[in-house]
Subunit: 208 residues, 2 copies
């Protein structure tokens, strides 16, 4: 309606733009996220959209940041009540599988898609994607380290190797869901995580 909006209204508009950006980019990629399309979907002008960010790259970075907030809320935060070490590591992986299974981002894991799109293009977006993955890897390694220190995982555990394997399982799951639409993929992934971290629902130790 009015061309000048209050700060609160502008913040709301900005948040609406970002939420839509994350949804579109998860399906079409951060490059397929065009200002014109976004403006049309939001019933705004292109310059109205762009005015909040300044450039397409700034919009991409803001969308990436918003997606990171969603991931933290979906995967990092639900486990804070779980005991540190192996129980929390298992909870983290369970939340990770659930995040992929529920397709929190309609086009699948936002970050894996962004990594593939930008890994060959130097720039701020690529750097931001890499930082998000570094932070997640550090989160996994922290809990793996605690589990080893507590004797819940063998002293001989290759900690970086374990983080590598867990990441691979999540990537294979995302792929099976998005490309193959395989409804059994999540169950398959849960079995694989359980084989690697021990299955609390089964008797026996944490390693097969």
């Amino acid at each position: 309606m009015s061309p000048r909006k209050s700060v609160a209204e502008a913040m709301g508009t900005r948040a609406a733009i970002l939420d839509r950006s994350v949804a579109v980019a998860s399906k079409e990629g951060l490059e397929g996220l065009t200002i014109g399309r976004l403006a049309a979907e939001l019933g705004m002008s292109k310059s109205g959209v762009l005015g909040h960010f300044g450039s397409k790259e700034a919009l991409q970075l803001a969308a990436l940041g918003r997606a990171g907030e969603v991931f933290r809320a979906e995967v990092w935060e639900p486990v804070v009540a779980v005991a540190p070490g192996l129980p929390r590591l298992r909870a983290l992986c369970a939340a990770w599988v659930s995040y992929l299974e529920r397709q929190v981002f309609p086009g699948g894991c936002f970050f894996v898609a962004a990594a593939h799109e930008f890994d060959g293009r130097p720039g701020a977006v690529r750097d931001a994607v890499e930082s998000l993955f570094d932070a997640w890897r550090a989160r996994l390694l922290k809990e793996i380290g605690r589990a080893v220190a507590a004797g819940e995982l063998p002293e001989s555990t290759d900690q970086a190797g374990l983080a590598f394997e867990l990441t691979g399982l999540a990537m294979a799951l995302n792929h099976a869901i998005q490309l193959h639409r395989d409804p059994e993929a999540a169950a398959c992934a849960r079995r694989a995580f359980a084989a690697r971290l021990g299955d609390p629902a089964k008797a026996g130790g944490d390693h097969p």
Copy 2:
């Protein structure tokens, strides 16, 4: 030079377009592969490029087919001399890691990138990508089945689950190379494959 070329010359031109297309698409994606850019790099006109394929989608499909030929030559074919079953499965995985490590496609695994780019977009390209993955999965499962039948892997092996895990390791390796430029990633992946399939260089059985 001459506007009309012989069939052999036209085939050579077509092959040159495809090789360039595969290289560009592995870095920029199949959608970032634009007719204009391709034409400029090849010193041709846009219509000269497009005339060989008819449409951008047909060019994308042809590039995907060419990439599939390269993958088969790099990963499927080198193992034909290895004994079927577990030895050949190990050789297949070794060739797979080597293909990723050597960056046969300059932008990383062509198919994983294409899968992420097209998994949310119905169409012929998406279907072709899915078929390529189905064929590769079937190739892995065939050799896993032989290894189980020969008693080289336990009778209780979850064969689909094993193929899922191996795929995940390859994806994690591709990601570590392309996004993180991690020079130790290939060694990490080889350890993980060996832990799963047994390491012929070490004493002991094939399962830890």
